[in-house]
C-alpha cells in the first residue's frame, strides 16, 4: 500500500506556510495543555493515570473518530487508501473477517471453508439467509460477480492484482483472456463459492479480508452505475450502514439490522470525520470531540510528549521507511558505491536522536512479525567497511565522487532525516550530496520515471506475509523504481510461490531478502509503529500490525474507571 497519503495533511501546509514555524507553534499549542514542567514522556511519580484531554464518555452509544483525508472512492472494488478502506469495512463484509487483535481470518460471510490437499482450491460455504441491507438475498453469485468485476479490465481496479493468485485472473485482468468462465472462480450453488488458485498461496485467507474482495450488490451497481455509492443508493452487507455523508466533513453510520450478527454490534452510531490536518485531528481528540485518533493522524513532533499518557497506544506496524537508489545512474550502477552508502548510515542515531525513539531502527527490508519468517542478518552501521567499499568502487576517501542528490517529498520530517544522512555520508565517506525536495506529484513522477539519484520512500504491507514487500523488487515491477533487476531474485520469488511447504517457502524468501540487501539498492532506515490515541472508555479496539480495525464489536464503557479492561472475549460467533 502506498505510504505517502498519510502525510497529505502536512503536505498541504508546506505549500502554504513555513512548515517549521507552524510545527513549532503547534507543538507549543498542544503542549500547553499538558504540564510543561515534567520532562517529556515521563509520568510524575505518585500520580494516577494521565489522559490527553477530555475523558467524558459520549452520552449515547456513539463512536467518533478522525478518518483522515476525504475518501476518494467508496466502491470497494476500485478503492485504494486507508480512509476509504475504513469506510468500506463498516458497510461491507467479506468471506472472512480479521480478528480484531491478530488479524487472523475468522468466519465472516462464509461460516466455514475447506482447502484442498494441494492448497490450490478453497471452497467457501456462505451462512444461510444472508441479506443485503435492502433485504435482497446475498448469494455466492454476488461474490462471483464482484470478483470478476474487480478483474474486468474496464473496471480499472487499482488492486486487481490482489486476485492474481486466482487461476487465469492475471490474464483476464490484462485483457489477454476474454472468457471470464476460464477464471478460477465458481458458484456451483447459492451458498458455495469455489476459488481455484494458480499456486498454493499461503496468505490467501488474508486477501479475502481485504477491501478489494468485499462483495458489492450487483442489483444496485447495475441500476445506478458508478453513482451506486451515493449515500441514498448505497447498499451493503456489513455491520453498519451509511446514514449521512458530507464531503470533507463526516460520515455517519447506524446499525444494519440485516447483518447476520447484528446482535453483537454494540454501537448505535459511528461518526467518521474527514480531516486533512493532523493538528486538527489531535485537537479534536483532546477536546473530546473524537474518541479515537487513529495511527498516522498525530503530528510526529507530538509523539515524544504524548508517550506519558495512558490513552497513547503504540505497536509495531508493517511498514518500513527506506531510501532507494537509482541503479540506472552512475555511479550508483556500481554495487560497491551502493554498499558504501548503506554501511555509512547510522540508523540508530536517526531513530534515537532525531525521532526521539518514536520509531525503531531497521536494517532489513520486510518488517518484523511475519509468522514463520526469519530475516537474514540486517545491514548495520559500519563506517570502516563503508570506506573500504567506496575505495573499492574507485572513490577512495570520496575523491572524484560526482555531485548527487537525495530526493524527498516536501515534509519537515523527511528533510531532517535527509540532512542527517547527508551529514553521515560527508563525515564517513567524504562525499557531498545535495538535497532536493519536491511536492508530492512531482516527487512521484521523478521516482516512477527514475529521474533521481537517491530517494526517500516507504512501503506498507497489505497482508501478513513477506511477499507483500519482497514482490515489489521483482524485475520491472511498477513499485521497484530503482531499475534493479536480478534474475536469481525473481527465480527465488517464483519458486516460493509454487512451494507448498511453508518452512521451505520462508527460507527461499529469506534468501531473496538477503540478495536485495546485499545488492544495496535499498537503505532501510526505520520500522514504523502504529501510534494512536484511544479514549479509555473505548473497548474492543486493539493495535494491529496492519493498522486494520474491525469496529463490529467496539463498545463504549461508561464504567471504565470502576473496573479494569475486561478480558478480551474471543468472538463467540459460529466457528467452523
Amino acid at each position: 500500500m502506498e505510504g505517502g497519503r498519510r502525510c497529505a495533511g502536512s503536505l498541504l501546509y508546506c505549500a502554504l506556510v513555513n512548515h517549521s514555524l507552524r510545527a513549532a507553534l503547534a507543538t507549543a499549542l498542544v503542549l500547553a495543555g499538558c504540564t510543561p514542567s515534567t520532562p517529556p514522556g515521563a509520568r510524575p511519580a505518585g500520580t494516577g493515570p494521565r489522559y490527553f484531554g477530555d475523558i467524558t464518555p459520549p452520552a449515547d452509544n456513539v463512536f467518533r473518530f478522525a478518518n483522515g483525508a476525504e475518501p476518494e472512492r467508496l466502491d470497494p472494488s476500485v478503492m485504494s487508501g486507508q480512509p476509504d478502506g475504513r469506510v468500506a469495512r463498516m458497510v461491507f463484509e467479506g468471506l472472512t473477517v480479521p480478528d480484531p487483535k491478530t488479524l487472523a481470518s475468522l468466519p465472516g460471510q462464509a461460516y466455514r471453508w475447506e482447502t484442498s490437499a494441494d492448497g490450490r482450491t478453497y471452497t467457501f460455504h456462505l451462512r444461510p439467509g444472508l441479506e443485503w441491507s435492502d433485504e435482497t438475498p446475498l448469494t455466492s453469485r454476488d461474490f462471483l460477480w464482484t470478483w470478476l468485476r474487480v478483474l474486468r479490465p474496464a473496471t480499472a481496479s487499482r488492486y486487481a492484482s490482489f486476485l492474481y493468485p486466482v487461476r487465469n485472473a492475471e490474464n483476464y485482468n490484462l485483457g489477454e483472456l476474454a472468457d471470464s468462465s476460464l477464471v478460477g472462480l465458481a458458484a456451483p450453488d447459492d451458498s458455495t463459492f469455489v476459488v481455484t488458485l494458480e499456486q498454493p498461496t499461503s496468505y490467501f485467507l488474508f486477501l479475502t479480508q481485504f477491501y478489494t474482495c468485499l462483495p458489492v450488490p450487483r442489483h444496485v451497481v447495475e441500476r445506478w452505475g458508478d453513482r451506486w455509492t451515493e449515500r441514498e443508493h448505497l447498499v451493503g452487507n456489513g455491520p453498519f450502514r451509511m446514514t449521512y455523508h458530507r464531503r470533507r466533513d463526516r460520515f455517519e453510520f447506524g446499525r444494519n439490522p440485516r447483518y447476520w450478527d447484528a446482535g453483537s454490534v454494540k454501537l448505535d452510531r459511528v461518526i467518521a470525520y474527514s480531516i486533512d490536518d493532523l493538528n486538527t485531528c489531535t485537537n479534536l481528540y483532546k477536546a473530546g470531540v473524537t474518541d479515537w485518533n487513529p495511527s498516522g493522524y498525530i503530528p510526529s513532533q507530538f509523539i515524544p510528549y504524548l508517550r506519558g499518557f495512558d490513552d497513547y497506544r503504540t505497536g509495531r506496524y508493517q511498514a518500513v521507511y527506506f531510501y532507494s537508489i537509482n541503479t540506472t545512474r552512475p555511479p550508483f550502477d556500481n554495487v560497491w558505491v551502493r554498499r558504501a552508502l548503506n554501511y555509512a548510515v547510522d540508523r540508530e542515531a536517526i531513530t534515537r536522536d532525531l525521532l526521539k525513539g518514536s520509531r525503531d531502527p531497521w536494517g532489513n527490508f520486510p518488517p518484523s512479525g511475519y509468522p514463520g519468517y526469519r530475516h537474514p542478518p540486517p545491514i548495520s552501521y559500519d563506517p570502516e567497511r563503508a570506506r573500504e567499499c567506496l575505495a573499492r568502487a574507485g572513490y577512495p576517501s570520496g575523491k572524484g565522487f560526482p555531485k548527487t542528490e537525495i530526493l524527498f517529498n516536501t515534509s519537515e520530517d523527511h528533510r531532517r532525516i535527509a540532512e542527517a544522512i547527508q551529514e553521515m555520508w560527508k563525515r564517513e565517506l567524504g562525499i557531498q550530496v545535495g538535497l532536493s525536495n519536491q511536492e508530492w506529484g512531482s516527487y512521484l513522477q521523478a521516482t516512477t520515471a527514475l529521474q533521481y539519484d537517491v530517494a526517500r520512500r516507504s512501503w506498507i504491507g497489505d497482508y501478513l506475509d513477506p511477499t507483500t514487500f519482497l514482490s515489489i523488487m521483482r524485475t520491472g515491477d511498477g513499485n521497484n523504481r530503482t531499475g534493479w533487476s536480478d534474475p536469481t531474485y525473481d527465480r527465488l520469488l517464483r519458486a516460493a510461490d509454487a512451494e507448498v511447504d511453508p518452512a521451505r517457502r520462508m527460507l527461499m524468501l529469506a534468501e531473496a531478502e538477503a540478495r536485495v540487501l546485499d545488492a544495496g539498492v535499498l537503505i532501510p532506515i526505520y520500522h514504523y509503529s502504529t501510534v494512536e490515541l484511544v479514549k479509555p472508555y473505548v473497548r474492543g479496539l486493539y493495535p494491529t500490525a496492519l493498522d486494520v480495525h474491525p469496529l463490529t464489536r467496539v463498545w463504549i464503557d461508561r464504567d471504565w474507571n470502576r473496573h479494569p479492561a475486561p478480558v478480551a472475549q474471543l468472538p463467540d460467533r459460529v466457528r467452523r
Binding site: L29, R73, S80, G175, R248, D249, T280, N283, G441, L444
Partner: protein, 305 residues
C-alpha cells in the same frame, strides 16, 4: 449605464478564456498526472482510466473538448473524487466558503469601520494610537498563527468553543474571528485615511458652521465619502476573503471550496482545478463589477460610461 454593464459583462468572456487557456496548459506542465500513486497503478488500469477520461487524446483535442464543455458549464467528473462532477463539488462546498467569508466580511466591516471613524475623529490622540496599533497587529498576525492560538485558548484550555468542524453556530466563531482579523485591521486603516481626508473638506466645515451635531456631521456627511476607499476595497476583499480561506478551512476542518483548489493542484486533478479556478475568476470579476456599480450609488459624481 446599460452599455457599461453590457460591455463589462462581454469583457468577462475573453478574460475567462485567457484564464482557462493558461490554467489548462500550466496544469499540464506540472510533472506527473492524475493517475499516479505511491503504489503503482497497473499499466492496464492506468491506460483504461486515461482512455475513460480522454487523456489519451492529443492535447489540442483535449483542450478544445474542454473549452466546448466548459462553455456549457460542464467540467466533467473530478479525477480524484469520481463519479462526483466538478460542478457538484462547487455547488456543495462553495456555500460553505461563502458563509464563512460572508460572516468574516460582515464582522470586519462592523468592527473595522467604527474603529476607523473613531480613530479619524480623535486623530493623534491615545484612542487613535491604540486603535491603529491594534490594527497594525491585526494585519501582521498571519491566520495560521492566530487560528491555533485561538483554538488553544478557547477550545483546549477553556473548553468553551469547538476546536474545529462546521456544526452549529458555535463552530462559526473561531474561524470567522481568525479569517476576519486581518480585514478588520485593514478596513479600520482605510476608513481612518478616507475620513481624515473628508473631514478636512470645506463642505464639512460648512456643515459644522451651520450648527449640525458632530454625530450627524461625521456619520451623515463625512462617512458617505470617507468610506469610498473601503467600498473599492470591498470587491477584491470579498473575493479574497471567500477564496482565501484555504488555511482557515484546513485548520478548522471546514468543508469549503478553498481546500479543493490546493489538493486538486497537488493531485493533478485537472478538471477540478480548472473548474474551481474559472469559478473563482468569474466570482471575482462579478464582484468587481458590483463594486463599480455601488460606486455610482454612493458617489453621484462617478458616472459609468
Amino acid at each position: 449605464m446599460a452599455t457599461f454593464l453590457l460591455r463589462r459583462l462581454l469583457l468577462i468572456v475573453p478574460t475567462l478564456w485567457v484564464i482557462a487557456t493558461l490554467t489548462f496548459f500550466l496544469m499540464r506542465q506540472a510533472p506527473g498526472g492524475p493517475f499516479q500513486a505511491e503504489r503503482e497503478i497497473p499499466a492496464a488500469a492506468k491506460a483504461q482510466l486515461e482512455r475513460q477520461y480522454g487523456l489519451d487524446r492529443p492535447l489540442l483535442y483535449q483542450y478544445l473538448a474542454f473549452l466546448g464543455n466548459a462553455a456549457r458549464l460542464d467540467f466533467g467528473p473530478s479525477y480524484k473524487y469520481a463519479p462526483k462532477q466538478v460542478t457538484e463539488i462547487i455547488r456543495e462546498s462553495f456555500p460553505v466558503s461563502l458563509e464563512l467569508g460572508g460572516w468574516a466580511l460582515l464582522f470586519a466591516l462592523a468592527i473595522g469601520v467604527p474603529l476607523g471613524v473613531v480613530a479619524a475623529v480623535k486623530q493623534n490622540t491615545r484612542t487613535d494610537f491604540a486603535a491603529m496599533t491594534a490594527a497594525l497587529a491585526g494585519v501582521s498576525i498571519p491566520n495560521f498563527v492566530l487560528g491555533p492560538l485561538l483554538v488553544l485558548g478557547l477550545s483546549l484550555t477553556l473548553f468553551v468553543l469547538p476546536p474545529a468542524l462546521w456544526q452549529g453556530p458555535e463552530s462559526r466563531v473561531l474561524p470567522v474571528l481568525t479569517l476576519s482579523t486581518a480585514y478588520v485591521a485593514y478596513i479600520a486603516r482605510l476608513t481612518r485615511g478616507g475620513m481624515l481626508e473628508v473631514l478636512r473638506q470645506d463642505y464639512i466645515r460648512t456643515a459644522r458652521a451651520k450648527g449640525l451635531a458632530e454625530g450627524s456631521v461625521v456619520f451623515k456627511h463625512a462617512l458617505k465619502l470617507g468610506i469610498l476607499p473601503v467600498v473599492s476595497y470591498l470587491g477584491p476583499a470579498a473575493a479574497r476573503i471567500v477564496m482565501g480561506s484555504i488555511v482557515v478551512e484546513s485548520i478548522f476542518a471546514i468543508p469549503g471550496l478553498g481546500n479543493y483548489l490546493v489538493t486538486g493542484a497537488f493531485n493533478r486533478d485537472y478538471t477540478l482545478v480548472l473548474g474551481v479556478v474559472l469559478f473563482y475568476a468569474l466570482f471575482l470579476m462579478l464582484l468587481n463589477l458590483l463594486v463599480d456599480v455601488a460606486y455610482t450609488w454612493i458617489d453621484p459624481r462617478v458616472e459609468l460610461r
